[in-house]
């Protein structure tokens, strides 16, 4: 198979299948072929940070990697970005001139590493980085798990969020209200909300969640709304990421995992939403090695071989018709993480040519 070069390589996965490691290896391979690459990753395991020489202090900033242990000097330096949601929020606030954005208590909690806004913020960060940098290819490692759809869904959520009742409320408040200090807006907003007929709802909600929360939530809405340009600009990313001539989509799964149902579900959902093809990256394949092993029928070795072979074959059989191609990565046995990534990068280069 010959994998095309595109402006974006998106990695999705069912979680724990080596997705981040494969994305890193892909970025290294592309940089070694002379491409200017930005690798964006969210919450990688510590060993990957170690390989790339990243640490939590450098989160949110682009690290320029010229050489890697055991890999040596890269043909073109690799830019790597460890996502930091709070930093993204801060930058959004600066860009939109809404410094309260990073000070709002609700927004602050949401922007924590496990606060739940990572997917949306990743898209916004990507959009901001593309404005600054000049890249041949962005390798994007999406958050793990079947929840990756949230990531694709992120833009839809933004759209819905700004499309719905809130926009009506805010626009009906008019410019005057948006320019007054937030406290005035919040009480003004209450009046409008009363007018909009949701006063009952809010009073019930207030009883359950506390008065302070409803106020904080409304002011969170306000600062987010005032920073909406950043959110809305993120929408432009959707088209670019969905365009098959601009992006390769890789769905990563592992033979070990053998969860073809889950992989197919993801493929189906993504296909429905974006109507495009994707590659299946099959990690930790064993069948090439097992082929030449012929233990005696009835032995426990035979049972083990059958079981491992069947698992892998079933996975291939069920998934093949639904993907543009299957990209094989045999099980890497090196115990050193850098060796591991180096060998994966080598396999990528074989698939690319």
């Amino acid at each position: 198979m010959s994998l095309p070069l595109r402006s974006f390589d998106l990695f999705f996965g069912t979680g724990g299948v080596g997705k981040t490691t494969l994305a890193t290896a892909r970025a290294i391979q592309l940089a070694n072929e002379g491409q200017r690459v930005l690798l964006m990753t969210i919450d990688p395991a510590k060993r990957l940070k170690d390989i790339l020489g990243l640490n939590d202090n450098s989160a949110g900033e682009i690290a320029i990697i010229e050489r890697l242990p055991e890999v040596g000097e890269l043909k073109v330096p690799l830019h790597a970005l460890l996502m930091s949601p709070p930093r993204t929020i801060q930058r959004m606030g600066e860009v939109a001139g809404v410094k309260e954005l990073s000070q709002n208590r609700i927004v602050e909690v949401l922007a924590r590493p496990h606060g739940g806004m990572n997917e949306i913020l990743a898209l916004i960060e990507l959009q901001m980085r593309l404005k600054d940098g000049n890249y041949d290819c962005v390798v994007l490692d999406t958050p793990p798990g079947p929840h990756f759809l949230d990531f694709l869904d992120g833009l839809e959520k933004i759209r819905k969020f700004f499309d719905q009742r809130f926009v009506e409320i805010f626009t009906s408040l008019g410019r005057r209200a948006l320019e007054t200090p937030s406290k005035g807006l919040v009480s003004g907003l209450f009046d409008k909300v009363v007018g909009a007929g949701v006063n009952k709802l809010l009073s019930y909600l207030q009883k359950v969640t506390g008065e302070r929360f409803v106020e904080d939530f409304l002011s969170a809405l306000e600062v987010i709304y005032r920073s909406r340009s950043s959110f809305m600009q993120g929408l432009a990313m959707e088209e670019r990421l969905s365009d098959p001539t601009k992006a390769n989509w890789f769905l990563v799964t592992s033979v070990e995992q053998g969860k073809f149902h889950e992989a197919l579900d993801i493929q189906k959902a993504a296909g429905k939403m974006h109507n495009r093809e994707m590659y299946l990256v099959l990690n930790k394949t064993l069948s090439h090695e097992l082929q030449d092993w012929h233990p005696n029928a009835g032995s426990s070795a035979f049972a083990l071989r059958e079981s491992l072979m069947n698992k892998e074959n079933l996975l291939r059989e069920k998934t093949r018709p639904h993907f543009a191609g299957i990209v094989d990565f045999p099980e890497i046995l090196a115990s050193s993480p850098t060796q591991h990534v180096k060998q994966l990068a080598h396999i990528w280069s074989k698939h690319a040519n």
Partner: protein, 273 residues
Amino acid sequence: MGESLKRLYIFTGKGGVGKTALSLAFTRWLQEQGHSATYLTLSQQALTDDTAHIDELPAGWEKVPHIHLELEAAAEGYITKKLGSALLAKWIVKTAFFRALVNMLPGFGYVISVGKILEMLHADPQLIIVLDAPASGHALTMMEATSNFREIFQSGLVFEDTEKMLAKLYDPQHTGVRIMTLPTTLAMQEALELKEAVHKLAPLNAKIYLNHSLKSWSEAIQDAPLALKEKLRLEAEVMELHSQDVAGRFAYSAHPDAAGMYQDLQAALGGLQ
């Protein structure tokens, strides 16, 4: 062993390590020991996604008592209790405002789900819940959500409830976190990172278990291709380095069916207590 049973077992770990099969097997084992146990999964998206995919139990496990917790139903139930009106609650969860709230604050859904789980445990003092939790990162989101929202709310009924919830959820006598992983260096390191993250959050001692162990297949692997021999060697290496961190090992099962798999796992399941 020697430890008393917990009320809530949170099974987590990276995807594809056999978390679902192990938590189902453990539930069945608890039942067979005469305990009242149920397997439980969550769906977070019910409120926002019309086509929410409801997971069915993998074939062969249907007899294990199981609950699929729907977020919308849990939210409705919670609000009903708090406001004393099912009609109001039904209306609230259907409003655009409430949906936007859950959309924007995904952790809110977890708080409701965790609250529901704790309520079930409170209502039935004999019940043990085995929660097949989302993969690593999302499990942390779930466990963190309650304290995050306690900070957000500061007052009101939910706030009072989150206080009580945290006392239970973070109580090591009540809650056990079980991290499933694979016998490789990298998977082990990830499990250790997760264990540390859980520990930072709460005084819970998360226990790590290796699944798909090849140790009991040593003999069969003697003449196997290099890849398998290496896997076996790497597993031994992991055990040498981390033996004190590993609470138990589950052998790779060559049985494709649930019954056969349960038979293979059975003897070691007590170690999950």
